[in-house]
């Protein structure tokens, strides 16, 4: 058995079994990434196209490395964002890529639903590498993988997600997956950064960070999107850092041994204090390393010819 779907668009649409299959597959690839020769022939002859309409170094590089370690051919396609008109250009570009006989398209786009649109328009498999504020499934999968690798069970796991939840596709993907897996998810942030009605997804909302962190086993920090500062979501960066920045004192409010996660890139001294980012409880670099194994797993599972 494998993943019986053409595309990976969201975690909201995956079952618990499918999520577990991806994590187990990633585990096999984790062993591969630890070898001296980190390459296997599984995707020989397949073409993976990284189609990134938004700038991204980390995710694109991670997908590129994952595809190369599977022996696939990789093309990086980064159309300039300035001329993009939602929908029209995407489908035009998709036709170009289909002509290149891509087996898998990895799409990053500023508009929610872009991956879904693309998936319906092309025969190739589509992997959503982030669409607007909607989802970023592989990031959440690598977060889940990192949590599991730390020996933590999802059932009843107390996870605090801190920051601009409303504008975070990482938070959304994690929220969908973690609640599905039975975790107890708390969302921490100012009211301006909480999506309306998010409690209905099964999460508890805290505006007081200290309260929300109590007993947390996983602290997932979100990047403060400084480029959104003009939107008056918070008065000053300094105030945000004081209210919602993760400091060593605040880590002590969580469960002893709690792990600190961040999808990167981090703003040191804003959402996370430098000493916390570099502390033993931080698994931020594990997340990056695990990302390659998880994406190898996803590419492998999506590469079936059916």
């Amino acid at each position: 058995m494998g993943l019986k779907r053409k595309d990976l668009l969201s975690l909201a649409s995956l079952s618990v079994d499918e999520i577990m299959l991806i994590l187990d597959t990633a585990d096999s690839f984790k062993e591969v990434t630890g070898r001296e020769i980190k390459k296997v022939p599984a995707l020989r002859g397949k073409t993976v196209v990284n189609l990134f309409f938004e700038p991204s170094t980390r995710t694109r590089t991670s997908f590129e490395l994952a595809a190369k370690r599977l022996s696939a051919d990789v093309i990086n396609f980064s159309p300039s964002t300035s001329s993009v008109v939602k929908g029209e250009t995407l489908l035009d570009t998709a036709r170009n890529i289909e002509a290149m006989q891509a087996d898998i398209i990895v799409l990053r786009h500023a508009s929610a639903g872009a991956a879904d649109t693309l998936a319906r328009g092309v025969k190739s498999s589509v992997i959503n590498a982030g669409d607007g504020w909607h989802e970023h499934p592989t990031q959440a999968l690598l977060d889940l993988y990192t949590i599991r690798r730390r020996g933590l069970e999802f059932k009843g796991l107390r996870v605090a997600i801190v920051g601009d939840v409303a504008h975070s596709r990482v938070a959304r993907s994690n929220l969908y997956a973690l609640t599905k897996l039975g975790a107890d998810v708390r969302l921490i942030g100012p009211p301006t950064m909480m999506p309306y009605g998010v409690e209905r997804l099964g999460a508890k909302v805290y505006h007081d960070m200290d309260k929300g962190l109590e007993g947390a086993q996983v602290i997932m920090m979100l990047r403060l999107q400084l480029e959104r500062q003009g939107r008056a979501l918070f008065p000053t960066i300094r105030e945000y850092a004081r209210l919602y920045g993760l400091t060593a004192e605040r880590v002590r409010l969580a469960e002893p041994g709690a792990i600190v996660m961040h999808p990167g890139p981090i703003n040191r001294g804003v959402e996370i204090a430098p000493d916390v980012a570099d502390s033993l409880s931080s698994v931020i670099l594990d997340q990056v390393a695990n990302g390659v194994a998880v994406r190898m797993g996803v590419l492998y599972l999506m590469s079936a010819s059916g």
Binding site: G2, S28, R35, E36, K39
Partner: protein, 190 residues
């Protein structure tokens, strides 16, 4: 890779080929042969091919220990990523883990599998092994050789040569799966 070892076929057409005693004696013989051929086991390592081969490798190691008093290193190899039919499949097979907790360099590696059939699994296993290191030598031990090779591959140690037709299925059932040890041929329902 067309070996069908598990599932899906009614038991009624089964024919017993080896029972628990046969399997035990054959493994004891192979263990002796491995010791003899390699003049001791100082450089020998066993690598079982998932899943059946892994169990057999452990059983062989136990016997070698009884003969020579030496614990040979054991590895486990998942060949899925090296299969030659991956690009053709509608669904990707479930990956299991490869674990070779020793340095392959200089070792005489005995690959262990339950059934030798087309030889494609062994080709994949050798490629997989070579990516993990440079053994001095690779040998092959199988419980059953059922013929129908599609590649020029030959086992060094064979438990039983079993003439079969292509349509038949050979299953190796082991205690490790919660079964009684036995090898059976299953004829297709015609």
């Amino acid at each position: 890779m067309t070996e069908k070892r598990e599932g899906g076929i009614a038991r009624t057409n089964e024919k017993l080929i080896m029972d628990a005693g046969d399997i035990a004696r054959v493994l004891t013989r192979i263990a002796h042969e491995i010791v003899e051929r390699n003049k001791g086991v100082n450089l020998v390592a066993l690598v079982g091919i998932r899943t059946g081969g892994v169990h057999l490798a452990h059983r062989l190691a136990k016997r070698i220990h009884a003969i020579e008093g030496v614990s040979v290193p054991i590895g486990e190899l998942d060949i899925t990523l090296y299969r030659d039919d991956l690009a053709l499949r509608k669904n990707q097979p479930v990956l299991r883990k490869t674990s070779i907790p020793f340095d392959l360099a200089g070792k005489a590696v005995v690959l262990v599998d339950d059934v030798l059939f087309t030889g494609r699994t062994i080709r994949a296993a050798m490629d997989g092994l070579m990516d993990l290191g440079r053994p001095e030598e690779i040998q092959l031990a199988v419980l059953v050789d059922r013929g129908h090779r599609q590649l020029p591959i030959k086992a060094n140690y064979v438990g039983k040569n079993l003439p079969t037709s292509r349509e038949e299925t050979v299953r190796v059932l082991l205690e490790e799966y919660g079964e009684e040890d036995r090898v059976v041929i299953i004829k297709p329902l015609s």
